[in-house]
């Protein structure tokens, strides 16, 4: 007997009890659909979290000097001097011979200041840094230009402003480029020409990354009180996302030797974006697995539904089984016939479940845009069919094992 014949026989059997078959298929549909949809939700939320972290710049390492507040956990009382990060260190790190995996190093000096333009004034974060800070932090210039190395060299009084600052100082639609803004911190005051506007950027920390004015770090001397040749923070950008850890090691080594200490004793706080990313990836994948497991239980329930219905079917059709055996059906043919019915139920349930899961994952669910992965779809489908085989086997085997006389005599 060919597969096709098994199929037509099985379809005839299933269509004899349409409602019952449909309900069993529905059970499988819900199981498969739930697996696909919930895994998609878990996956979607994981992608959302990761893209938020990515917005920080995944190739970057933030090194913060905590020396002023205390030593790092590894430092002991024997070390009396706080370590520093100097302009010379930055130069060393920027040298490709000494640090081959580092693309750029940006010193960062931030302060909260008052900015004003004409009658308007607002509080804004001024970040004094080098041109490489912008790409390292995933800032893009929407209009005008970014600060350049010549601006750093000449300590040019220029600023690139963020969207929030723009809307706080300028009337809607105004072109800020070429205009001058005043920045005051305590007694210090300076005038900056706006040379560019940043595109809006997403926030991960709750601090608005768009309420910002970026100026060359050399300009900060005399304006920002924190300025010494001792940067509180630098951002190191690796050449490649796979080089992040190597870049971190190179930067640490350079700083350790410059401060005549060991890496472990540096009182610096290092945030490696990539390790943040992998931490979050592992937590969200745990979440996804958990969701998938819950959904898999409904798949199991669907399978039990198939087994239940197949047991009823075999009992109902005991006489038919007897007739088939009396005219010479071998055991395998009976087994195949009922197994095909069970697998068809799970196959239909699986296909419909895939459709429902895919359609469902086009809608936002509890604020998450689900992202269905091909593997979860294929896996859910394959598992569904396997469930059909597994739960269909016992009833089919029961049918195949019936003795012809007993089956024929069954009322």
């Amino acid at each position: 007997m060919t597969i096709l014949l098994y199929m037509t026989t099985a379809l005839r059997g299933l269509s004899a009890n349409k409602l019952r078959s449909a309900l069993t298929v529905l059970g499988m549909l819900i199981g498969v659909g739930a697996v696909i949809l919930l895994v998609a939700v878990g996956n979607g939320s994981s992608i959302a979290v990761q893209s938020k972290i990515k917005a920080l710049g995944t190739n970057t390492i933030t090194i913060t000097n905590r020396g002023r507040f205390g030593r790092g956990p590894a430092t002991t009382g024997t070390q009396s001097q706080a370590a520093t990060i100097t302009a010379a260190d930055i130069k060393t790190m920027s040298d490709p011979n000494q640090a081959p995996d580092i693309l750029s190093v940006s010193p960062v000096l931030s302060a909260s200041v008052t900015a004003s333009y004409q009658d308007a004034s607002t509080t804004v974060t001024v970040t004094a840094t080098s041109p490489t800070y912008l790409p390292a932090e995933d800032y893009t210039v929407e209009a005008g230009r970014s600060i350049g190395s010549s601006d750093v060299a000449s300590s040019a009084q220029v600023a690139v402003i963020g969207q929030t600052l723009l809307s706080n100082l300028y009337p809607a639609g105004a072109n800020p480029i070429g205009t001058d803004i005043f920045v005051t911190e305590g007694k210090n005051e300076a005038q900056f020409q706006v040379i560019g506007v940043l595109a809006a950027k997403g926030s991960t920390t709750g601090v608005d990354p768009n309420n910002i004015a970026i100026i060359p770090y050399t300009t900060a001397e005399g304006l920002l009180t924190g300025y010494t040749n001792n940067f509180k923070q630098i951002i190191v950008e690796a050449k490649n996302s796979k080089d992040v850890n190597a870049a971190e090691a190179e930067a640490s080594d350079i700083l350790a030797s410059a401060n005549q200490t060991t890496v472990a004793n540096l009182p610096f706080f290092v945030i490696n974006e990539q390790s943040l990313l992998s931490t979050s990836a592992s937590t969200t994948s745990t979440f996804t697995v958990l969701l998938g497991a819950v959904a898999a239980i409904s798949l199991l329930v669907g399978g039990i539904g198939i087994m239940n219905i197949m047991l009823v079917t075999v009992t109902e059709r005991t006489r038919e089984i007897g007739i088939r055996k009396a005219i010479g059906a071998p055991r395998g043919a009976i087994l195949g016939q009922f197994l095909t019915e069970a697998v068809l139920l799970s196959l239909f349930g699986g296909l419909a479940g895939v459709a429902v899961g895919l359609i469902g994952s086009r809608f936002k669910i509890v604020g998450v845009k689900p992202v269905a992965t091909p593997t979860s779809v294929v896996e859910a489908f394959v598992v569904a069919v396997a469930v059909g085989v597994f739960f269909g086997f016992y009833p089919a085997n029961r049918a195949a094992s019936l003795r012809p006389v007993d089956a024929l005599r069954y009322e």
Binding site: R319, E320, I323, A326, I327, G328, A329, R331, P404, V405
Partner: protein, 254 residues
């Protein structure tokens, strides 16, 4: 002792009898008590015979027929079908024997529901692995033989009892079995329909097929060539229907 009991005079001594039963018993356990449906039956049926089995209800006719048809196995005794001891056959071989050597017709027709007359007749050939084209051709020929060519596409529920039984007969004969067994084939039919079914059996027997049927009706038995009577699981008489008593020695032996 020869493994096959010697039978009645046969035209061809080389061929074993189609059916040879020796001391067949069949016991059903009902809790503590035992029911002896067959209490020791010996019977030889040669190729080309047309036999009626009669007896009161509960005398063991169906039990014997099920054993002959390899649907059931005896509690003791031996059974040679076409010279082959069925005791030595496994499940797969028994299925093949039922498929190739035996055509079974039941009192309650036993067609597969929601399956057309033609598909029902094709079924045994399906299990025999006959190709679709040949299957169709042979099924149509069998349907023609029972005079139901016009009902090929009908479902069992769309046919009269007589027609259903003739489809069942067509299904039984389509694999060219050596043996056609029928358990009260006319039990659910009126005289006219019985007549039609018996006509088919008669023509099959004329064509050389061995036919064994169970019946309660003397006029049906009269149309066969030999009548075997059972009572309480034993053969009480075995005679030639047209040519007077035969095999009296069997009854005497008991």
């Amino acid at each position: 002792m020869s493994p096959v009991p010697s039978g009645s005079p046969s035209s061809d001594r080389q061929l074993p009898p189609v059916i040879a039963l020796r001391n067949i018993t069949r016991t059903y356990k009902m809790g503590d008590s035992e029911v002896h449906a067959l209490a020791g039956v010996s019977l030889v049926i040669e190729r080309g015979e047309f036999v009626a089995i009669m007896g009161a209800s509960g005398s063991g006719k169906s039990t014997m027929m099920n054993i002959i048809g390899c649907l059931d196995v005896p509690s003791s005794g031996r059974y040679w079908l076409d010279g082959v001891d069925v005791r030595g056959l496994d499940e797969t071989r028994l299925a093949r024997v039922r498929n190739r050597k035996i055509g079974f017709v039941f009192q309650s027709f036993n067609l597969i529901p929601r399956t057309s007359a033609l598909a029902n007749i094709e079924l045994p050939m399906l299990y025999a692995g006959v190709h679709a084209k040949e299957r169709r051709a042979r099924a149509l020929a069998a349907l023609d033989l029972v005079g139901l060519s016009s009902r090929a596409g009908h479902m069992p529920s769309e046919m009269s009892g007589g027609q259903q039984q003739r489809v069942a007969v067509a299904r039984a004969l389509v694999t060219n079995p050596a043996l056609i067994l029928a358990d009260e084939p006319t039990g659910n039919l009126d005289t006219h329909a019985s007549d039609e079914v018996m006509n088919v059996f008669e023509s099959l027997n004329r064509a050389g097929r061995t036919v064994v049927l169970i019946t309660h009706e003397p006029d049906i038995a009269e149309r066969t060539k030999r009548t075997v009577r059972l009572r309480d699981g034993l053969i009480i008489s075995d005679e030639n229907t047209t040519r007077g008593p035969r095999r009296a020695e069997m009854g005497a032996a008991r």
